[in-house]
Assembly symmetry: C2
Homo-oligomer: 308 residues x 2
């Protein structure tokens, strides 16, 4: 695997983590980067997220073998169009967005003469911006690559090798299926979390300070993902609209059924539903996708009390 230069457009959580990971795991590869926000560029240079933070996107991509767009889904096409003439003709173009069909279409339209292979590392934290990234973000996480039909197989294998070098496990998937899978494993959970945190802040009978005080009863788990970057998530819901609305309808049907069981006192339906959800958590832990420590390890059994 010998990529000479990787250009990263957008230096937030994802872009910054890629830059740091390349420096750690692919020491022979040079990294350049650009962010629209001057303050982000300054901070990126201070943290050394890439070898060279450039003053324009065109400069950042000018020597690139691989260009990765790490901007919100809604501005992928715009960011790509801006550097159309500057990307070397043989360079591979990719991205890290959470929705693959609409982003693939936007990148292909903006860069009709380049090889575009979209990808999505399923990894992140609730933090965003140039201080959020770290080199091990992708370790033991899945990166879903969604090549178009008749893709360049050499370039595809380069992209796969790149993500594997950064610690990810790579899965190849059709973009449409990706969008459906992510709608249920990521987009719907975020929408639900944003909703319930909003609901809890708007009550008249229960004050916001009470919600905060007694959040250890379950609510606090939702506040983590509801603290994620609002620009990115607005774009996710707008660009993966159909899949999100489909999953939301299924969720609402199921919630209505449980609501009815509560109202009529149907204890068997409630128990049966609650009993079968444990197995999924066990599998997620077995596959290394979550922490097995109770309470996410927040409650420190040895030393007493939660951190934070």
């Amino acid at each position: 695997m010998s990529l000479g230069t990787v250009a990263i457009i957008g230096l937030g959580l994802q872009g910054g983590s890629i830059g740091l990971a390349v420096q750690e795991f692919l020491p022979g590869t040079r990294t350049t980067g650009y962010d629209l926000d001057p303050a982000t560029r300054t901070r990126a240079a201070e943290r050394g997220l890439v070898h060279q933070v450039c003053g324009t996107a065109a400069e950042a991509v000018s020597q690139a073998d691989l260009v990765i767009f790490c901007v919100p889904p809604g501005v992928m096409g715009e960011a790509a169009a801006e550097v159309r003439g500057a990307i070397p003709s043989g360079a591979l173009v990719s991205d890290v967005g959470s929705c693959k069909q609409s982003i693939a279409a936007a990148l292909r339209e903006a860069l009709p003469d380049h090889t575009v292979i979209p990808a999505h590392p399923v990894a992140g934290t609730e933090n965003s911006g140039p201080d959020a990234g770290f080199a091990h973000l992708f370790r033991n996480r899945w990166c879903i690559v969604t090549p178009p039909e008749q893709t360049d197989l050499v370039k595809l294998s380069e992209l796969v090798a790149f993500w594997e070098a950064l610690g990810a496990n790579v899965e190849i998937m059709d973009a449409r299926h990706h969008d459906l899978v992510l709608a249920v494993t990521s987009h719907l959970p975020h929408l639900i979390a944003y909703t319930i945190v909003g609901t809890a802040s708007d009550l008249e009978d229960v004050t916001q300070s009470e919600v905060i005080k007694y959040s250890a009863g379950g609510f606090r788990d939702f506040t983590r993902i509801a603290a994620s970057d609002p620009t990115m998530w607005r774009d996710v819901f707008l660009t993966n609209r159909d899949a999100v609305l489909t999953m939301l309808q299924r969720f609402t049907e199921d919630l209505t059924a449980l609501q009815r069981a509560i109202r009529v006192g149907d204890s068997d339906t409630l128990f049966d539903h609650f009993a079968r959800t444990r197995a999924i958590r066990r599998s997620i832990i077995e596959e290394g996708q979550d922490d097995s420590r109770p309470d996410f390890g927040r409650t420190d059994h040895e030393n007493g009390g939660a951190r934070g």
Copy 2:
């Protein structure tokens, strides 16, 4: 604070933690315990959750100054009625249930001649049973005490001192208000989590193994609380039905509004909603009710990769 003997009925996560905490923080106090399940009694004795595991509930309470019922909300009255004649007349009776109005009524009916002061430590993990408890569960967590009108103030202060000794911060609250507050901070989040985990397991287009594989995108956060004890949660929803249905209606209204914003492409509404939910998480962390480390500390920045 000098309680001679504390009797714990029900030796799961809460009862076991109380037993261990009393032994650590109130070394002068003797603990007795009972559980309906013989296997739980055996395991409780092996772990030393209390000084003496008794063969009957009557034996466990016979010398008690304080009796704490740690059984599911739906069987509180039954458990109390069973030991009516065995509890010393001066003993204080309390519990740890998540719904206070219905449990208070059940305990008062079962034990009309005793002082009953219900309480609810807002602390827990997704684990249950005799192996789940630990001495520091209540440290820096709130314990809500809901005394009835004209309560015995000496006994009330004993109960407050007891919970403070175990590391909790105590708040006195009206039972009706407690049930409303917990409906939003605990019961609704659990219902939503149980629902979405069920929805995700029932899809035809997305397999369960895909849901598990890509759960790091947000879904896995919901699986933790959806792994909680099904018997207890069935009882919570049935005993705090009205408050849960009220909160659920508010949630559904808010979700419908966001659904509409996605459908019509109202990006301002989405952004505004997503931007205002960050402040709540910050406050929860500032008040020590959650862990400030990104990703609940699951992603270990120093050593690379998530534990588990």
